[in-house]
């Protein structure tokens, strides 16, 4: 198993294809496995696709300490060093987009182009474990929560109704790699503690900000639609693309449309 030892932690990673390096960061408490549903095959045709499991997920170490998005960022830099990758296209989805912002800010030489998918710079008023999430996890149980929450936030009613087999294919990967609940909570805490809102103007590389048109978890203070808007306005060299009739998990529900948008951004 390919792993790199960094900051006293084993980070599991995989590399697929050749070409310009392309680094992927997944959503909160989600291992790198998720990118193998669609994106690895597509972009490894002409890129060196790098996926990895965050600490606390998948096959990486799971130390019982406080996690921060800065720590995830430093783990990824150690991985790039290990692979002798000078710079990469960096794509981050949801919490991964927060880690990607830090990478762009702290190590600007390592980021050629930045793709921020359904993410944000901060959670206003949001340090600590969110009450609504805790309540639902306790009432429903962990696995059921992740399933229900992912469906509610991730996929339109129409997709859920018309494409049940694709939804199950997604969950097969997402739930098979679900880490112990402790690390889900540690990831949520790191996400809630993240704040790059005062630093967006310092993100200098070409940036694509993407969000699903129908994203809007009614339970959160700031939806991904709103936080993506903040990113697009705050990052000087940003291009904003709204994906029609999509919610949070368009990488699974409409990969063709997403890949097209990304490829256009990479060409320009």
């Amino acid at each position: 198993m390919p792993t790199v030892r960094t900051n006293e932690t084993e980070i599991y990673y995989e590399v697929h294809g050749q070409g310009q390096p392309f680094l992927f960061f997944s959503e909160t408490a989600c291992s790198g496995e998720i990118w193998k549903l669609n994106q690895v095959a597509e972009f490894s045709k002409d890129h060196m696709v790098i996926i990895h499991d965050y600490r606390g997920t998948g096959r990486s170490s799971k130390p019982s300490i406080d996690y921060t998005t800065r720590m995830f960022c430093d783990d990824a830099v150690a991985l790039l060093d290990h692979l002798k990758v000078k710079d990469a296209i960096v794509l981050g989805h949801s919490m991964g987009g927060r880690v990607a912002q830090l990478l762009a800010l702290e190590y600007p030489d390592r980021v050629k182009k930045l793709i921020l998918a359904s993410t944000g710079a901060s959670f206003p008023g949001g340090a600590g474990l969110p009450l609504q999430m805790c309540k639902e996890m306790i009432e429903w149980g962990y696995e059921k929560y992740v399933r229900e929450h992912t469906i509610q936030v991730g996929f339109t009613d129409d997709f859920v109704r018309s494409q049940p087999e694709r939804l199950e294919a997604f969950f097969k990967v997402r739930l098979a790699n679900l880490g112990p609940v402790e690390f889900y909570l540690r990831h949520v805490l790191s996400r809630q503690g993240h704040d790059t809102s005062g630093r967006l103007k310092d993100i200098r590389m070409p940036t694509l900000v993407m969000v699903g048109e129908n994203e809007g978890d009614p339970k959160v203070v700031m939806t991904h639609r709103m936080s993506s808007d903040v990113l697009a306005k705050g990052i000087p060299n940003a291009k904003f693309v709204m994906l029609a009739q999509q919610k949070h998990n368009y990488f699974a529900s409409d990969p063709a449309a997403v890949h097209k948008v990304i490829r256009e951004f990479l060409r320009n």
Binding site: L129, C134, K135, I138, E139, E182
Partner: protein, 268 residues
Amino acid sequence: MPRIRVNDIDLYYEEHGQGRPMVFLSEPACDGEVWKINQVGEFSKDHRVITFDYRGTGQSSKPSIDYTTKMFCDDLVGLMDHLGAEQAIVVGHSMGGRVAQLLALDHAKKVHKLVLASTGAHYPLTKGLPLKIIKEMIEWGYEKYERNHTILVGWTDEYVKRHPEKIEAYLKVRMHNLCPVEFYLRHLIARQSHDTSQRLKDIKQPTLILVGDGDRNMTSEINHRMSSEILAQGIPNSKLVLLPNERHSYFFSNPDLAHKTIREFIAE
């Protein structure tokens, strides 16, 4: 059923006996019923004992808003005004002791003497929901968590082994009417954000600080033994009494000793 309207909620309360008012404040997310197991019978002999259900518990209203210990204190102030109860002896257990400190500070005239039982002034680090509690609630379920936690924190292993029927008798009261998990969490957030650590020197009333010598469980960064010592050092007119071979719930497991200690303090 005696209820009053205070601060836009209905507050359920009970009064037993006659004499100097004596108010009992229970632990987080715990209604006033637990005091009826032992303390109401004992102290209503020669006091006007007042118990009530915090907002979010028992038969009081349960608004879905953020709770604070200040809010619980204001509810109590409304109740005492309604009852014309001045100069009360105020006994606060655990989170109730935090509410009692606020009453002694912000409504000093209402407090004749203060009993701070197994409590503290603040949690210096963890301001939101503690990860360990949430993890266990998710893994075990809410009711099982409350059972296990109450036993682990409440009594020594020896007591649990020797008196299983007594434990069940207590849990029957504690678990009956257990509030919906949302309000348990709202109470925890109120407890974690409470901070009177810089104001202890302004508590002028004679104060008894009670703690079980084995009350060392850590849900976050500080246990009740440590926090009781901080109270004893900070409150000028205070006396610390360690109850031997006891943990958190000595009001139930050793009422005779707890009552004797309190009666001696009242008589001083």
